[in-house]
Symmetry: C2
Subunit: 439 residues, 2 copies
Amino acid sequence: MSELAGYKGRSLKLLEDFHVKVGDTVQITTKGDSAAFSDNYAGIIMPRYENADDKHVVLKVDSGYNIAIELGRIDKISAMEQKPTKNEKSEQKIKADSKLPKLLLLSTGGTIASKIDYRTGAVTPTLTAEELNNSIPELAEIANIETEVLFSEYSENIMPNHWLEIANKIKNVIQEDNGYHGIIVAHGTDTMHYTSSFLSFSLAGCPIPIALVGSQRSSDRASSDAALNLIGATEFLVKCKTNGIYVVMHQDENDEVIACHLGTRVRKNHTSKRGAFQTIGGDPAFLIINNQIHNNKKTDFFSNNKFEPKIALDEKVALVKYYPGFDPEILQNYIQKEYKAIIFEGTGLGHVGKNMYSIIKSANEKDIFIGMTSQCIDGRVSMTVYESGRDLLNLGIIPLEDMIPEVALTKAMWAAGNSKNSQEIKKIMLNKIASEISK
Amino acid sequence: MSELAGYKGRSLKLLEDFHVKVGDTVQITTKGDSAAFSDNYAGIIMPRYENADDKHVVLKVDSGYNIAIELGRIDKISAMEQKPTKNEKSEQKIKADSKLPKLLLLSTGGTIASKIDYRTGAVTPTLTAEELNNSIPELAEIANIETEVLFSEYSENIMPNHWLEIANKIKNVIQEDNGYHGIIVAHGTDTMHYTSSFLSFSLAGCPIPIALVGSQRSSDRASSDAALNLIGATEFLVKCKTNGIYVVMHQDENDEVIACHLGTRVRKNHTSKRGAFQTIGGDPAFLIINNQIHNNKKTDFFSNNKFEPKIALDEKVALVKYYPGFDPEILQNYIQKEYKAIIFEGTGLGHVGKNMYSIIKSANEKDIFIGMTSQCIDGRVSMTVYESGRDLLNLGIIPLEDMIPEVALTKAMWAAGNSKNSQEIKKIMLNKIASEISK
């Protein structure tokens, strides 16, 4: 971690002037021009993100909150306790224990992929094996973890090209046969379930377990779930005796249960809770309780355990959520852009309004695969119950069972990348590959 | 109910030839050309929907399932028990009990809005007060229910214009002051929560309670929830002593608990379960258990109880679900079509990828209101936690607290219909009107 991580320009100069650095406990005296704030702030200087402005110094105060103090208000910064600099610090080099299983940790970004400094609670974006083992000593007792930074992106910025990069990396690692027992993919939580489902299809039959792990609370908060999720994933990969792609996160608000969700049946269902990820329509495949694994899974993750990676996709696939007032003409764009597939998030059992019929007919005539999922999220589409559903079937829409809309999207991108026409896409979409359809 | 409801052409002629009608218990003998099916089917002749083909006769068999038998296979239909025809049947005319409170039932379509014939389980699309009271005798013991058919649409075909029609009807009824204690709106379930939220805004301050009621299982199934939901809504309106817009449905699979959800905090979260509707982020406002009302609600439904109906909307509002690979150019259409507002279903705390920034900037410059909700559905957006959120705030996106995406859509349509520019829309969107924002 850089001693002045993220500070630049004026803010960097100020810290240098007062001979303080990230991690130091300091007192900042302000010019006191506002009665609403006290004139002194005690706290630890926090690192800043790369794109942060140069107009503030951020302090972690006793309450655990971070506050940003504008440079113009700062009169003086006095060091109360200096953090040892890198050279002074006696870093314990944790030795690999050859009797323990070997895991690979691939870091893609997000809070989880960052080094956690327990003193400052600070997050820094690079991660080496040593730093990881130093920050979460429990890990080294379970497995030898080798790490590699693939890229460093918040998951809202992860694009289908990143999925390909992760999938190719895992494919190569497995084909090189380096003796890894499993692979952890550290990933931001926002789109972790999109990535896990893409990996599930593109790495079908993958012989070792893959665990995507994130953290819901940034590591600079006392309630961070980063360390426990990583420990849970490590336990899981070492002990699960199965393969497949999983998302490993807190089961709920407490720290006792870590849930391992099927990578194609999971969704982020809460913006901020630690137990935000949920298996849709069932229990998590595994639970880790007090270092013990509880298996709820009755069947293999993959329908076929022969490893046949197909790392390709076509981004010309749209996920379209229908709602009253939805303008059918919007779909004309997808037709003009020669999209390969449209996945509807219909209402209820899989419906859209009659005003959509004409554009759906046009899309169908252009050999665009049109699949139906439900915005209800839970439950199966069933398009023979009501006339609307039967009308849509007649227009060529393919009901996608109980596939989660986001999973149907990634599967369709993958299917389109591996198909020549809508009939081939249809065949792939209806073929259960990686537990994406229940029953 | 017509004696040959829905039958036409060849199928109508066949029933007439064998002197049988809808509701009769019959035995159908087929030509037995397929070994997979038996040659005799016993069951009750079911009515058919208006747009059904004329090639089948539909029987409700003992298992409770409906089967369609192709005309070409039918050799003979023998009546085993004839349903009394209308004239023979001694219809009990239920008299209004002047001591009971008066309710209005507006029917808009969907399964619930249809007459339920307990014998055939058949559904017919028109509903008179007498028919209703005859089919669910419990209702007449709770209230005097007057009914009116507004229109008859499956709810996937309900459009914003229908919302206006319902809202105007309710506004007029209330302003005429006819002494109604409350109003039931029978509605298909697919988009019931969109309608309930639009009514919540457009009828702000509405002095009497409104209950939207649907049924998840069509009434020709033994597990139908139609009658119990209607009884629950009637109990609720008579006893709740409050105002507001509610969705009244089964709480779960059993018949003991009916839940009354706030009309702006509810979502259809399962395609088929009877307990498909859930209050997001909390308990239902009221529960009806054994005819008793349990109130979980701490505050008034409306922020202001002065009845100020504003029945207007502008459909130029889009709900846009972001996902990895979403094509930013699609938004160009909304800009070109001079949309008034775009509501994002972002990821996590309210994010979209960096590749969206440029188009969002363009939309903002065209005075389009851009609001952010989360596709997590549950939880609050919070756009100051991560850089992505702060970037989006700088681009002019307005975080919409914990408003459900569908509710943010209807509110924005309503706000756009009552505003001159994006600043006015913003002011309305951030002003809590009808419990749409928690806390």
